[in-house]
Structures are given as C-alpha cells and as structure tokens.
C-alpha cells in the first residue's frame, strides 16, 4: 500500500497527481474464500479489515450489491458517542470510541474525527435527573460525562432558545469526547486497508442464495457466480431480514426509513453536536458550514431509501424550537436510509443455528458510531467462532431468554423509538 504523507503528497504534486495508486482494486471473485462478508458498508469493510489485521485471515471477500459506502455509511449524520447507561452498550461503544481516537493513524487515512462534544439538552428537572443518572453510569464505566447548567450552556450554544419557551432549557449532559467523523472516509479508509492486506472487495455482486448442507454453510450464490466458503458474515443492515429469509430465519427486526438533511452552508455558529431533549432531533455543523440534521423515523415499515415530507416537517419544527435562528436556512439535500430496527433497540452480533453463518444487525439509528467496534468484535466472533466479552450480551436469543438490552425502553413498537 502506498502510504499517504506530506512527502507522498509533494512527490505526486510533481506529476499533477496523476500517478497515485488506486485505493482498492476491482478483482474478479475467486471460486473459494475462507470468509465471505456480505455487505460492503462500514461494518462489512471494518469486519474484513480486522479479520486480516487482528486474526491474519486474508482470504476474505466482501460482496456488495451496489458500491461500497453507498448504503447507510453514506447516509448518516456522522455522530460518534458512547453515552449509554447499560453496561452492555456503554462498554461496547466506549471501546469503539477508543478505536475512533486512533483510527486516522491506524488506517493512514484521515477520517476527520472531531471530538467536539455531544450535548443532550434537558427540558425539565426530571429529565435533568435522569441525565445525571445516566452520566453517573457512564462515569462508572470509565466514559467521560459532564453535567452542564443553563449558564454554561448559554456560553457554549448561545443561539439556542433560552427564553421561557414551551420546552425551556434546564441543563444538559455532555460527552466531551463524542463528536463527528467524515463518514465516506471511514468506508474508504477501511476498504483501502482491507484491500492492502489481500481482501477482495467485489462490488455489484448481489447474494441471491445460500448453499447450506447438514446445518453447515457451504457457499453463496451470487449474481457473479457461486462462491464456496465455510464462514459467512452478514452485515447488510436494513436488508438483513431478506437475506435471513433465504436461510429460513425470521428475525426480531423491522426495516424502517430514517431521513436526514443538510442545509445550505453558513458561517460557523454551532461548535458541538446538540440533541433536543423534548423530542427527537439532533444537529451539528459540518466543516463546510452545512447544518446536518436528523430525527425520527418515518414510522412505517419501509425498504425505500426515501421518506415523506410530514416527518421532515415534524423533525425540523423541533429544530426550530431549539435554534429559532435556523428558520430561514434553505435545505440543500434530504435523503433516507433503511434502519434495521431491533425489538429492544440494541444490536445483534452473534452466531446462528447454522454453522458458519454469523449475524451482525439490529443497529437501529446508531450504526455509524459503532463501525470500528462492530467490525472488531464481529471479526473476533467469525475468526474464533465465539463471542467476545464486548458483544457477549448482543445475542440473538436474548429475545427468547428475556435478557433484553432496552436502553430506551421503547418495547416492540420500534417505529416509536
């Protein structure tokens, strides 16, 4: 792999930047691989990267039906955080934060990790109390958490509505190391890293079926031919139920569309990621100056990567309640992605009843921030054929045993989450 540095930049400047190596190759699929990863999104690419890096399994293929990074890793609001209360989530995502902190160096690719702080606003005394409880739980797990009062918030986010509004700001909970990263760079960085260690990234190759014999996976059928393998990892987010159906599996998952949008770029006025506590709205300002905003699901099962206007109106009205001065911003783009909403709001990284089939799904709204740790733990699970301590609670059968990780307590009406 050609390393990126100031020297390689200068050297290539002399040839008008026309002689850079390709970041990843475009190989033909081989007949057989040790491991096949279905889905060339962030999680799939990261899984392949850590399989090669941590477990020296390099005869790996990533099969992607579209192009890498074209799904949810290119459709999120780029927020990173580990501000969870339950141990299972907190410890898992905190390990992820540690991976994020060194990711640019690790990948030799600038993922633009920006620890600008994630602030959750509270709009009542009761809410502030629950935030304090969550903050304490975080600190017990070694995660950074700071309670903020009104006066501190006025200095940090002066454009928020501090009047006696319908939802007055009482204070907030901040995770200072939370922030944002450049989502495409994450996909591309992992792709380049995985490719350099021998992983085949095969795009425009859709899995159409599985070859299972005697309860063991033997291979996959794809639009580019049959591929033999003994181990297969599914990292296909909103499409998980469809692939699982081909394996005669029914999952505790519904697919829902989540919209996000960006405004026209304006001068810097928001230094942090801020979430509205009286509804579901979160925003940050990109380096280009656009306001990046998101909120609720559209609220009905969907595989269409687009949503409808009422939800956007609802979400942005919450944004206006928080930052009245964005009322005259024009929207530049809106888009939708398909969330694999699990029934308790927490992910599944587990083996299945079919030997050699591994499942990585149920990310709900929160898949992007989990990209490194999801790949890291999934690679461990595939390579070692057992769960790592970090994902030991994210079992598929918790829905039968009752060990749910119900961080938000939304029960099974996932579209209300």
């Amino acid at each position: 792999m050609q390393r990126y540095s100031i020297f390689s930049l200068i050297k290539n400047a002399f040839s008008n930047h026309e002689n850079w190596d390709v970041a990843w190759k475009d190989p033909e699929p081989k007949k057989e691989y040790d491991v096949v990863i279905v889905g060339g999104g962030g999680h799939g690419l990261a899984t392949a990267y850590y399989l090669a890096k941590e477990h020296s399994i390099t005869n790996v293929a990533i099969l992607e039906k579209g192009w890498i990074g074209g799904g949810n890793v290119g459709r999120n609001t780029t927020i990173l955080r580990s501000n969870y209360m339950w141990d299972a989530n907190g410890l898992f995502y905190e390990y992820g934060m540690k991976l994020w902190e060194n990711l640019s160096q690790e990948l030799n690719y600038n993922v633009m990790y920006s620890p600008r702080g994630v602030i959750n606003l509270a709009h009542s005394d009761a809410q502030l109390n629950t935030f304090a409880r969550r903050g304490n739980s975080m600190r017990l797990n070694g995660i950074d958490a700071v309670m903020l009062n009104r006066e501190e918030l006025k200095k940090m986010i002066p454009f928020a509505d501090f009047s006696s509004a319908r939802f007055p700001i009482f204070g907030g909970l901040m995770q200072p190391r939370g922030g944002t990263a450049r989502h495409d760079a994450v996909a591309w960085g992992y792709a380049r890293g995985a490719d350099s260690m021998g992983v085949d990234i095969i795009q425009h190759c859709e899995v159409t079926g599985f070859n299972v014999q005697n309860g063991k996976i033997q291979g996959v059928q794809t639009t580019r031919g049959n591929i033999k393998t003994k181990k297969i990892g599914l990292c296909v987010a909103g499409n998980t139920s469809l692939l699982a159906a081909k394996l005669d599996m029914k999952l505790p998952i519904e697919s829902h569309v989540l919209q996000a949008c960006v405004s026209e770029p304006v001068k810097p006025f928001l230094d942090h990621v801020v979430t509205f506590g009286a509804g579901h709205f979160y925003c940050s300002q990109s380096d280009k100056g656009e306001m990046v905003m998101g909120g609720d699901l559209d609220g009905y099962n969907s595989y269409a990567q687009r949503g409808n206007l009422p939800t956007l109106q609802h979400v942005l009205s919450e944004g206006l309640a928080m930052f009245p001065n964005i009322s005259r911003l024009k929207m530049l783009r809106t888009w939708g992605g398909i969330m694999d909403m699990s029934m308790d709001g927490s992910p599944i990284i587990d083996k299945t009843h079919i030997e050699g089939v591994y499942l990585n799904c149920g990310w709900c709204y929160g898949g992007f921030k989990a990209t490194p740790v999801s790949g890291w733990t999934f690679a461990y699970t595939i390579a070692q054929d057992r769960l790592h301590e970090l994902n030991s609670k994210f079992k598929l059968n918790r829905f039968n045993t009752g060990h749910l990780i119900d961080e938000k307590g939304t029960a099974t009406k996932v579209w209300l989450g």
Binding site: S241, S255, Y300, N301, S302, N308, F399
Partner: protein, 88 residues
C-alpha cells in the same frame, strides 16, 4: 406524503394517521397453554417483507378507528385498505 383511504372517512393525508405494525400477527388465544416459542414469535419476531405488507393503521386524528392497509414497503404504494373484520 402518503394518501391513505380510511374505510370509514375516505382519503386523508398521512398526517391524520398513526402506524400499528404488522397486521398478520396473531395474539395467542387467552386462557390456553402457550409455549415460550409461540409467545416470543408473537412479541418479537417479524416477517418484515420487502414488497406487499399487511399492516394496521389508526385514524388517530379522525374517526379513531383501526383498520388494515396493504402497502408496498419498497415503493410506498398503497394497494388497498379494509376494515379490521374484512378480508384485505
């Protein structure tokens, strides 16, 4: 914007409705012995199809009736709506 035809009120905009999920889920019968698997299947497991999906909607800002909708989850096209006790 979805236009949903409430079987009682006619076509209305999506804003008046709320969603109620998969209409094919059958709650195990009251008073009968229920295995854990049957109960778990009812509570947590979904077929989650891409394409035609039968689902419940609630005309919450209108007549407040629940009814069934046959809708395409890939295109959002609505094929048919019916009352709860009618065939969809």
């Amino acid at each position: 914007m979805l236009e949903i035809k409430c079987p009682y009120c006619g076509k209305r905009s999506q804003n008046e409705f709320s969603y109620g999920g998969d209409a094919n889920l059958k709650r195990p019968e009251l008073g009968k012995e229920v295995s854990d698997k049957v109960w778990d299947d009812f509570v947590y497991y979904r077929s989650n199809p891409k394409g035609k999906h039968s689902e419940l909607w609630h005309h919450v800002s209108g007549c407040r009736q629940w009814f069934k909708v046959s809708r395409n989850t890939a295109t959002h096209e609505i094929f048919k709506t019916s009352k709860l006790d009618e065939e969809l």
